[in-house]
Symmetry: C2
Subunit: 211 residues, 2 copies
Amino acid sequence: MSIVHENIPDVTIGKFLQELGSSAPAPGGGSTAALSGAMGAALVSMLCNLTIGREKYADYQEINAETKKRSDELIHELTECITKDMTSYDSVMAALKLPKNTEEEKALRSERLQEAYKSAASAPIETSEKCLEVMKLAYSLTGKSNKTAECDLLAAALNANSGIALAIVNVKVNLLYIKDSEYVGKTCYWADRITREASEILKNIREAMKA
Amino acid sequence: MSIVHENIPDVTIGKFLQELGSSAPAPGGGSTAALSGAMGAALVSMLCNLTIGREKYADYQEINAETKKRSDELIHELTECITKDMTSYDSVMAALKLPKNTEEEKALRSERLQEAYKSAASAPIETSEKCLEVMKLAYSLTGKSNKTAECDLLAAALNANSGIALAIVNVKVNLLYIKDSEYVGKTCYWADRITREASEILKNIREAMKA
């Protein structure tokens, strides 16, 4: 019984870890990227929930309410990214099964495979972008959320940053098979940019925590 | 309905994220540390399962069987660390409720609080040590496990490394309240050491992957 076609929020932690540890093709590292991001988003929501309605933080009610709206959505969206990750190889598997008897068949199979690898890379790219959004939300709350739990903003960012690093491993694995050098170049540039941006935000949050 | 006293493997991902995002005192960042570590351990088991019984990897059957035995245990132990994290503040909460009317009561309360903060710090310390073990297992398998999924060894290490960073945030939060300077000094030294060791292992795995 695979969890690939189950509703992820209904899957137990025990079952998820069991399937992750098995030799089944999915879930794998990309699914842990999305779950890390979802945990980061949840910690942002936690901070908002610990701040909303507290008189002491009257000045920051609006930003916390707005942030919570988006972080709650991101929990949901990143949970969906777990499913997207688990099915991201379906099109690759399908293309690999195409016939390759004639030159025409070979060409078609090769073309479909190239599309499939790009499609497979799009799942962890989406996960990364959403994780970066989690990090930005966490940073925007520094100094504007419940002081007693503020260290969990750093935890939120660490989870999301790990989500980005994990997702990029999966993006790069797909790039190995993609022949479109412009696409590969652009995606490598994107990966460097988002990694740098994420580590910059993490550094800024650490600085803000020290202060 | 809190998940604090539930059996964590039976808790659904949706429920875990919901409780994490709520204003409930637990779970928080420390629980995400342990779950990240458990995901790392599961990815190590996955690689072993993809290698055991394959003739192509005949030379590495023993190390994969041994590693799998330990990584399977670590999935379980790190899942237990989620519960330990969620209850780690119980003794702090109990000590905070002690009476402080007389000098004697104040002194006893202060003493109990100090013990409680050390006890609270011990949960994320344990999580970190187990995460480091996951990273060492992942590194020990580089070049000795199924080539097609080897990038998930890096994913295993990234998850466990994130578990360490997350756990250390929680260790340091407790240190802020601990007056025993020898304990604080030793623990800061430990945190620096394990962080450096983890990033060294991560670097080594990245190097091994490139080769």
